[in-house]
Symmetry: C3
Subunit: 324 residues, 3 copies
């Protein structure tokens, strides 16, 4: 694996989940793997879980960690090819990516969707810019279209909690006062494609995610029907995809509550708005897995970094062999 | 000790001060105590001394340190019970506190008073929220009502500098153009309650601190009279407590100067406004202890973290015993 | 060497460059030199290269690193002597510098020129304040008038790339939409004074740098003539020095391009505005050394910190001898 940009970079999800669970049982077992290796975490947006868990994961592997709020501490970046840079941007991604790579072995990046220009968001200029120019492994800490560290943590959580051969998992849209990105929902759907489960997506009509992402997945507009017999309910708001980035629906009847949830386990990536997305009674019940999901963020990041470090070490040892 | 939220968490101030002084003599003696332990420092407000000294203390104990400006880098927190979160706040303290606790062993928090709503400030929602929900030791890096790391450093400084059996210590209010919190003054008074000293508080009439804090302490409105024969003078501004958070007095006759100070030692927590709170002649004289106080912040934080780490280790070893 | 404030602090540039190149060949060779030593990096302005490379250099030497955005995370500083601090500043440099020194062994500072008041900028109040009051080694991470870590990296790059006994090096002004400081240009000129090279500065008439800096250097207003036979062309914008901080010229004929560059190598400190300062064709060609310059920032910082650490260790061992 060269990068961790999306779930497509995982060769075998069951193997990764198994290995992550063994890291969780013994987090410091590979403390020497990252010795003398540095990771830069570059934040173009706010972060709590991702910031702390990725640092923690890197430290568990013995890496040096440099954290930078690129947006406020660095220079405004230009992404266009051939641009005459006489406006607000001070540095081109071509230089920035190569420069960052001089000081670290792995770079992890968070750059949210703008939610104003769909085409631009889907081009993922920040992540792809670093991928193209940095020449070192790049980790996606949530981009415009995906949050694969979150969905890997979700896969770990599902694996820990599931007791059935083929559980029923429902992704249920929820209302929210602000326009939120599609990244978490997208990556969750992609992750479910790799699971042996009955998977249903439910949301108001018109709130369809990208058809490319949901291709082959079952969509049921009737929330009640979708939730019938669910073992796990993953609740998440996203803004409209067709009328891109708009909040067209805030209908409280989509809010998750105890009655709707039934006996299912409740999942959410956090942060979550209480009594808008989900009722207190659910979050405060033992059916909620949200804290365990947050905990598993560390081991999701740690398995990703472990794979990338092993890749770097193999590369070095191959180079050494060739040089002989 | 489970947490370090106020001076009430200290079992014996003399013992702590003695132990802090021995840490100061040999700061790296317990370098292995914090191995594989992580502290998160969460700042909801600006900080210089606290930020640097607490990091330094944690590093002296071999801990991993994660620093986060929660206000600007994280999500706006909700503290209300049962709130329908359709306004500005994105995450509830219930989740935030539990989540942070997944990534560290100790959490330290700075959250200043708003100085607009006394009742709310005294409820200390941030600190108490983390205490209630995090399930790990919480350290107060200055809350609405107290700054116990500062007053512990002050106790160390007093102990180092005092030559008398029962010194006279005066807390003297000073003018200031901006409304400042009561935290430092409160904790200093609480600390003086634990000292064998003649303690006097002096301030303009109407500038009384919380009666709960000053209960049993001598208050003398005549500054000159209060300062007579003082060995240590601790100068500090605070805004009005009754007319909460207001600046009702900026009378320069309360500014500390060499004449008033006499032969006493001068103390202040810093930052200090020169020639408003105290004259240059005092700060630049050998009677000023302010830099030594700042230096002792490291060892105050270090003794606190040492006690908490020992608590964690005992807990682990008790758990292991029980499991047998 | 007590501090690293400008190139004047280097005893022998050729020796330093040679030593930096040997650090580059084996970056972790002195990993134990910085054990139990802490560096504080204080940023009053934005930074990418300096932030990352100086951290990396310190970590390569085994130091503990504390990074602080002083401007946004700390308190507004006062620099005036005898000021009555009743305005916007909360803490005097006298206290701030001494306090920071309680928590670290070396302090590194970035504080840009204001470009509004030349006299004030040239007084370098931040850097000189720390130098005067901190009592520990101070490193200049770009001040109002100099950027000696950059020019040391440039010297390393020149040494690696140069194949001639006496190369021709040209510093060529470039247009820019915003007012930029003189620090990089100043330090580059100072560094070239220490080189055995034919050195020419070219810029529009009226764009002279400080005469004190360029004293003895050849200035040629005709860019084409200046560039004739050049081996290295260092391109950099600076705002007007006489009409201080003004942008009086944005003439695109000063933009560097492939034709003008000829067979010379291209250098720039970055960040660079593409197609304003320099054409894409130059930056994207193999003649560009900008990424190598950025890479050498690590080893420039590392040789500086190594010298300072050795100084600290000598001081300690001398003190120990005296105490015997």
């Amino acid at each position: 694996m060269e990068h961790y940009l999306s779930l497509k970079d995982i060769d075998s999800l069951p193997n990764w989940v198994a290995e992550a669970k063994s890291l969780k049982a013994n987090p410091l077992h590979y403390k020497s793997l990252g010795a003398a290796k540095t990771i830069c975490l570059l934040f173009f947006n706010n972060s709590l879980r991702t910031r702390l868990s990725t640092q923690k994961a890197a430290m568990n592997l013995g890496m040096e960690v440099i954290v930078m709020n690129f947006g406020s501490e660095g220079w405004a970046l230009e992404y266009g090819d051939g641009t005459i840079m006489d406006q607000g941007t001070s540095e081109h991604i071509k230089e920035a990516a190569q420069v960052v790579a001089q000081y670290c072995d792995i770079v992890a990046i968070r750059a949210f969707a703008s939610l104003t220009d769909r085409e631009k968001d889907e081009a993922e200029v920040v992540l792809n810019g670093f991928k193209k120019y940095a020449g070192i492994p790049v980790v996606n800490m949530e981009s415009s279209v995906g949050h694969p560290l979150q969905s890997l943590a979700d896969a770990i959580t599902l694996s820990e909690q599931n007791t059935k051969e083929k559980p029923k998992v429902v992704l249920s849209w929820a209302p929210h006062p602000k326009a939120l990105p599609h990244a978490v929902a997208n990556s969750f759907v992609e992750m479910m494609h790799l699971q042996d489960a009955e998977f249903v997506i439910t949301h108001p009509e018109g709130y369809e995610l990208s058809p490319e992402v949901t291709k082959g997945a079952k969509i049921e507009y009737d929330q009640e029907k979708a939730l019938e017999g669910a073992d796990f309910v993953y609740v998440k708001n996203w803004s409209n995809y067709k009328d891109y980035g708009k909040v067209l629906n805030q209908d409280p009847k989509w809010t998750m509550n105890a009655k709707k949830l039934g006996n299912a386990k409740f999942m959410h990536c956090l942060p979550v708005r209480r009594n808008i997305v989900v009722a207190d009674e659910v979050l405060d019940s033992s059916q909620s897995l949200v804290i365990e999901q947050a905990n598993n963020r560390t081991y999701a990041a740690q398995i990703v970094l472990k794979k990338l470090l092993e890749g770097l070490n193999n590369k070095t040892s191959n180079t050494l062999k060739t040089e002989k």
